[in-house]
């Protein structure tokens, strides 16, 4: 197993109390496997990835019963050891290209640096690899781009630079946080195909955080749906999309604009907002927005896996959930 995360918790002390940003999530990624994480804005997806990279905000407190990469426990690793791993064996593509690209250095310098930090190669060799990868991610005249500064690139170019940079050292695992959101669909398709090819060729594992359910359905081996710091449903892409059991997952699928939905008309939205995760929290995190909430939902709900279903965190029996899905999503579900 490439990455094994058990019971990961992230607390962030804030002025108004401790924010329980991530509350005991578990997942794993095998070689060559793609895990997609989807979920509400602010539910803790980015923090989860940052926790694996040991790049959480300074105040954040991370705990886990297991946090292992290729069998190696990441929890007790020294800063130096983690620095060696990061950008080399594990690479991250950040959601915020502008904050992870240094504005005062050229693209070329930054790419070359990444490789030379981890490998004994000449500048020339590093430069060649940078050019090769920029070309791979579909950037025209890569040589000229090397001399450019991040602010001179379009949003999409920056994101491609980030992807190329993540690939500099041939990582075993990539944590990609919204890697293709700023890209047009043709380039998105090309890059995703590139990532898939690398996975097949080198057994690279991929954790893909994205809001794009279309991509999830097509890329994922496994899907984890997060809500308010917890995983509320997980399974293969097929089960999640064809048999969504959690009311939140069903809600997500219902609010997509789609050709068959009437133009310029309101989309279905999930009413309300995510609960504050500060201080003591109890019960189903989704109950304030759930059409099926009942008194029992005020008690904590465990992620459970009844016979004939995949894991989901809801008190409703699978059969009831399936009826609801049919009502919300139509006969297809």
């Amino acid at each position: 197993m490439l990455l094994d995360v058990q019971d990961l918790t992230i607390d962030i002390p804030t002025a108004s109390g401790v924010l329980h940003a991530v509350q005991g999530i578990s997942f794993s990624v095998d070689e060559g496997e793609t895990l997609c994480i989807v979920g509400e804005s602010g539910c803790g997806k980015s923090l989860t990835a940052l926790a694996v990279m040991d790049l959480l905000p300074r105040r954040a407190i991370r705990a886990a019963t297991s946090l292992a990469f290729s069998g190696r426990d990441l929890r007790g690793l020294s800063r130096e050891a983690m620095n060696r791993l990061r950008g080399d064996r594990i690479a991250m593509i950040f959601q915020e290209p502008m904050t992870s690209l240094n504005p005062v250095f050229t693209i070329g310098d930054q790419m070359i640096d990444v490789l030379r930090q981890h490998r004994k190669v000449s500048r020339r060799e590093a430069r060649d690899r940078a050019v090769y990868l920029l070309d791979k991610v579909g950037i025209s005249s890569p040589e000229a781009r090397l001399a450019q500064y991040p602010h001179q690139l379009s949003g999409g170019l920056r994101q491609r630079v980030m992807i190329a940079m993540a690939l500099m050292c041939d990582p075993k695992l990539i944590l990609a946080d919204e890697p293709t959101t700023a890209l047009d669909v043709t380039i998105q398709a090309e890059l995703l195909r590139l990532l898939m090819a690398l996975q097949q060729e080198f057994g690279m594992g991929l954790v893909l955080i994205t809001h794009d359910l279309g991509i999830v359905s097509r890329m994922a081996d496994k899907v984890a749906v997060m809500y308010a710091g917890q995983i509320v449903e997980s399974g293969t892409a097929e089960t999640i999309f064809n048999d969504p059991l959690h009311p939140y997952t069903q809600g997500l699928m219902a609010c997509l604009p789609a050709p068959e939905r009437q133009r310029m008309q309101h989309l279905k939205a999930i009413p309300g907002a995510v609960p504050a995760l500060v201080g003591a929290i109890e019960g189903c995190r989704f109950r304030g927005r759930c059409a099926h909430a009942q008194p029992v939902c005020e008690r904590d709900v465990a992620l459970r896996e009844p016979a004939g279903a995949h894991p989901y965190r809801c008190v409703l029996p699978a059969e009831t959930s399936r009826d609801n899905a049919r009502a919300v999503l139509g006969a297809g579900a």
């Binding site: 108004s16 989807v38 979920g39 509400e40 804005s41 602010g42 980015s46 959601q95 915020e96 502008m98 904050t99 025209s140 005249s141 000229a144 001399a147 450019q148 001179q152 379009s154 949003g155 999409g156 170019l157 491609r160 919204e178 959101t181 700023a182 890209l183 047009d184 669909v185 043709t186 998105q188 398709a189 090309e190 195909r193 898939m196 809001h211 794009d212 359910l213 279309g214 991509i215 359905s217 097509r218 892409a237 097929e238 999309f241 064809n242 997500l252 609010c255 997509l256 604009p257 789609a258 050709p259 939905r261 133009r263 310029m264 008309q265 989309l267 939205a269 999930i270 907002a273 504050a276």
Partner: protein, 290 residues
């Protein structure tokens, strides 16, 4: 037909071009034409969608509409008058923007309340108390809990920040809003809320939109007209219904083919094409005059 053909033209671009110098050396001075001779008209109530290649000039075009970037050639007209004849403040009251990147567009040190009220402050509108009240209203309009009023952007998720950006853009009650990828950082339920908000605002305040997005289903759902850009040019401009129904341009066709609908296990469409093919740069037959 979008039914808006009798509405007045509010914003017009005439043969607008913008070039940048690509290489920094003294010897090789490569010029890059980011926007290449673009003309378009925006009528009151229009929602103009702009789609196209990454790097095809959508943001550059948007910035020129906003007067944030000067065209190298051609002109931009607001109500028939050159954009350059408006001062910054007058312009800001007419036309506002929501940019692609919710991370870099917010001052990390301001409080959310202060950020939303900032345009009001700059324009000297209202008393301090009135501005605060308006900022709280706006927070509510974009669906953010009032407890975030005193938070800083660093404590917000991407989606929450984008709502702050929209709230700030609405503070001056502009009548044109240019949104560059307003929902690309958002999950689909928040996206639905924001799109519904944009639809409501359009009805309520008679807003005219420019909506830049890579998400074709969003464009299809939200727009009256669509411009497809490729290498700085508008290669196709059509009513939204027409474009998605029967597009005539080869690049548009590829674009539509690469859209990733939900299809478990279907894999990623293989849409590799020769970006250098000159056929892609030739605009589709001019749109029927409306």
């Amino acid at each position: 037909m979008s039914g808006l053909e009798n509405h007045p033209v509010v914003l017009e671009m005439r043969d607008v071009t913008r070039t940048f110098r690509l290489s920094r050396g003294w010897l090789r001075r490569e010029m890059l034409t980011a926007v290449d001779n673009v003309s378009l008209q925006l009528r009151k109530g229009d929602v103009l969608g702009i789609v196209g290649e990454s790097g095809s000039g959508k943001t550059t075009l948007s910035k020129m509409m906003l007067g944030l970037l000067a065209p190298s050639a051609g002109e931009v007209l607001l109500d028939g008058k050159p954009l350059t004849s408006f001062d910054r403040r007058a312009l800001a009251r007419r036309i506002q923007f929501v940019f692609q990147d919710p991370y870099s567009s917010l001052n990390p040190r301001g409080s959310i309340g202060a950020i939303i009220a900032q345009p009001l402050r700059i324009h000297g509108i209202g008393t301090r108390a009135e501005r605060e009240k308006r900022a709280r209203e706006l927070l509510d309009v974009v669906g953010l809990p009032s407890r975030l009023f005193d938070s800083s952007p660093g404590q917000l998720s991407g989606g929450q920040r984008q709502r702050v950006v929209i709230a700030r853009a609405l503070a001056l009650r502009p009548d044109i809003l240019v949104c560059d990828e307003p929902t690309s950082a958002l999950d689909v339920s928040v996206q639905a809320q924001i799109l519904n908000l944009l639809l409501d605002l359009r009805k309520e305040f008679d807003l005219t939109y420019v909506l830049v997005s890579h998400n074709l289903t969003v464009i299809e759902h939200m727009t009256t007209e669509v411009a497809v850009m490729y290498l700085g040019r508008i290669v196709e401009l059509a009513d939204a219904e027409n474009l998605f129904g029967n597009s005539s341009h080869p690049y548009t066709k590829i674009l539509l083919r690469s859209a990733m609908t939900i299809a478990p296990g279907a894999g990623i469409p293989d849409v590799e094409f020769d970006r250098g093919d000159p056929a892609f740069r030739v605009p589709a037959a001019a749109r029927q005059s409306r």
